[in-house]
């Protein structure tokens, strides 16, 4: 696949070559309905990207972590090099879990992390919908920024979750702007009550907390602007050729457009290519149905790179199989005659 061909006919190339070629990309999201092969696709994309970039990080934000499964290697909250690669790392974060870490980190001096400042954070977390996940997201992004990876791939949770996740920066920014405004207005008053150091009853510092929140807000607004920049961020939709999956994909694409997040790639996974003259009744029926939806996809998403991936007879697990699978993202699969 020559790059000349790609640049000449960018929008219609049925591969992910355009993502490999777009060197400015920093954040890549991979999302879709549950069970369509997001993790396999994101792992494969990461493998392909690792060949052309200095360093790649793969993050799973799905509570049901599958990265460990796919690579047959245990990953945790810290970035860890994937075995067999020198520039591909992976980590798994739990959006619900890290709020607990955050609370614990705030109330270090307290034996009970949920009292005092922790309690305040807890109140905050429950007062604003989605803020708990957003805060953990921000924490992760802060970590990631300091790690200086060239590309970061997010393997996101099934559709609904993903979209909420992407909405967080705006939600959190609004909420935090309100809080900082309040604190600057009532801070002096509170300090009058609390004494010169602004110490809260249980030995926490009000000013310190406000500073922390302000820092968080800045990180998030920066991330927000980055996500909305099509040179830095793109979203890869993964679906299968079935009605519900297609419906969800269309909804997701519209919603992404409303957040002004760029998306121009669709991976259609688990396609059946029964051999000529095969008398497998199910396969032929299914092939017919998939073909119908494939035609619809082609008609509807004429400005997207639509990649067709076959359904394999084996599970795609382990480095070698993933590498073989990933080749098909770049070189279109040709069904055997």
């Amino acid at each position: 696949m020559s790059t000349a061909v790609v640049s000449a006919d960018d929008g219609l190339e049925p591969t992910l070559q355009s993502i490999l070629d777009q060197k400015t990309l920093r954040w890549i999201f991979v999302g879709g309905k549950g069970g369509v092969g997001k993790t396999t696709t994101s792992c494969s994309l990461a493998i392909q990207l690792a060949k052309v970039r200095r360093s790649v990080l793969l993050i799973s934000t799905d509570p049901a972590h599958n990265l460990s499964d796919a690579f047959s290697q245990k990953f945790g909250k810290e970035a860890r090099l994937v075995e067999g690669f020198t520039n591909l790392s992976a980590m798994e974060i739990d959006p619900n879990g890290s709020i607990q870490d955050l609370i614990a980190g705030q109330g270090e001096e307290n034996s009970d992390p949920l009292s005092g400042m922790g309690g305040m954070m807890q109140d905050l977390a429950f007062a604003i919908p989605g803020i708990d996940e957003a805060m953990s997201f921000a924490e992760v992004l802060k970590q990631v920024k300091s790690l200086s990876y060239e590309v970061i791939i997010f393997d996101t949770a099934p559709t609904g979750h993903t979209l909420r996740f992407l909405q967080f920066p705006s939600v959190l920014e609004k909420a935090l702007a309100k809080i900082s405004q309040l604190s600057s207005q009532y801070g002096p008053l509170l300090n009058g009550f609390l004494g010169n150091q602004g110490t809260l009853p249980n030995g926490q510092n009000l000013n310190e907390m406000m500073e922390k929140l302000e820092g968080l807000r800045q990180t998030i607004s920066e991330v927000n602007t980055q996500f909305k920049d099509e040179n830095l961020t793109t979203f890869v939709c993964v679906c299968i050729a079935e009605f519900l999956s297609l419906y969800e994909t269309e909804r997701m694409i519209q919603e992404l457009a409303s957040y002004s997040i760029d998306t121009h790639c669709i991976v259609v996974n688990q396609l059946l290519f029964p051999k000529q003259g095969s008398n497998c009744e199910q396969c032929n029926a299914r092939r017919k149905m998939q073909k119908k939806y494939l035609d619809q996809i082609e008609e509807l998403y004429d400005e997207f790179n639509v990649v067709r991936m076959p359904l394999l007879v084996e599970e795609v697990r382990g480095k070698e199989k993933l590498e073989r699978f990933s080749e098909m993202l770049i070189h279109p699969y040709v069904p055997p005659e």
């Binding site: 009605f243 419906y247 269309e250 519209q254 119908k292 035609d295 619809q296 996809i297 008609e299 509807l300």
Partner: protein
């Protein structure tokens, strides 16, 4: 300059008309007139109407299209549908806020022109006699009451004149209403040659009585 006597009378007539017709009706009438004027706003309203029509056709098409068999067509319609809906919602809010603003402006103006004037005029012309009574025709206490509150004794004050005007306006309007009722009732009775002859009698009778009572 229009004489104060006439002005007070006209204000009373205005107040009475507003009260009988109703403020909301007047507002709606003015609003409809405002919409027909060739303003920027009426253009927006026309635009909204065409959009609404478009939206309805698209919705019909959307309902007629099977999402499973013609997904591409369905999704494209759906996109148009969502876009139009959003546009319409936005237009609706702006339209409503414009109407509220218009209503409040009209309310203020109407109040100033009727009730406001009704309260202000007696203050303004409190000391001025509307006209003088022939000397010696009325006893002193009657003259004092007619000149109440601050007009010179022996004249009719603006407050008394206002009360008189209000009374006349009410009387006249009641009379008109009664006569209209009578005429319309008679017409109705004529139009419906009622099968049962006994019913013919009581209707005009009751209306007559009502007319008497009103006048």
């Amino acid at each position: 300059m229009i004489s104060v006597l006439l002005l007070v009378f006209l204000v009373e007539v205005g107040v009475h008309l507003v009260n009988t017709v109703g403020a909301a009706t007047i507002n709606n009438l003015l609003w409809n007139i405002y919409l027909t004027l060739p303003t920027e706003f009426s253009k927006q309203v026309a635009e909204r109407k065409t959009l609404q029509k478009e939206y309805l056709t698209i919705r019909r098409d959307l309902n007629a299209t099977s999402s499973q068999d013609q997904f591409a067509k369905w999704a494209k319609l759906r996109r148009q549908h969502d876009k139009l809906l959003e546009q319409l919602e936005k237009m609706k809010t702006s339209h409503e806020s414009a109407k509220t603003k218009f209503d409040s402006t009209v309310n203020i103006l109407r109040w100033l022109a009727t009730s406001g004037l009704k309260f202000l005029l007696p203050f303004w012309y409190a000391k001025q006699p509307m006209f003088w009574l022939p000397h010696g025709w009325f006893p002193y206490y009657a003259e004092w009451i007619l000149s109440f509150p601050r007009a010179p004794v022996g004249s009719v004050s603006i407050a008394s004149w206002q009360t008189a005007c209000a009374g006349v306006v009410l009387l006249v309007s009641d009379t008109i209403a009664a006569i209209l009722g009578l005429v319309l009732g008679a017409k109705m009775a004529k139009k419906q040659p009622v099968k049962v002859g006994a019913e013919k009698g009581p209707i005009p009778k009751s209306q007559e009585a009502k007319a008497k009572k009103d006048s």
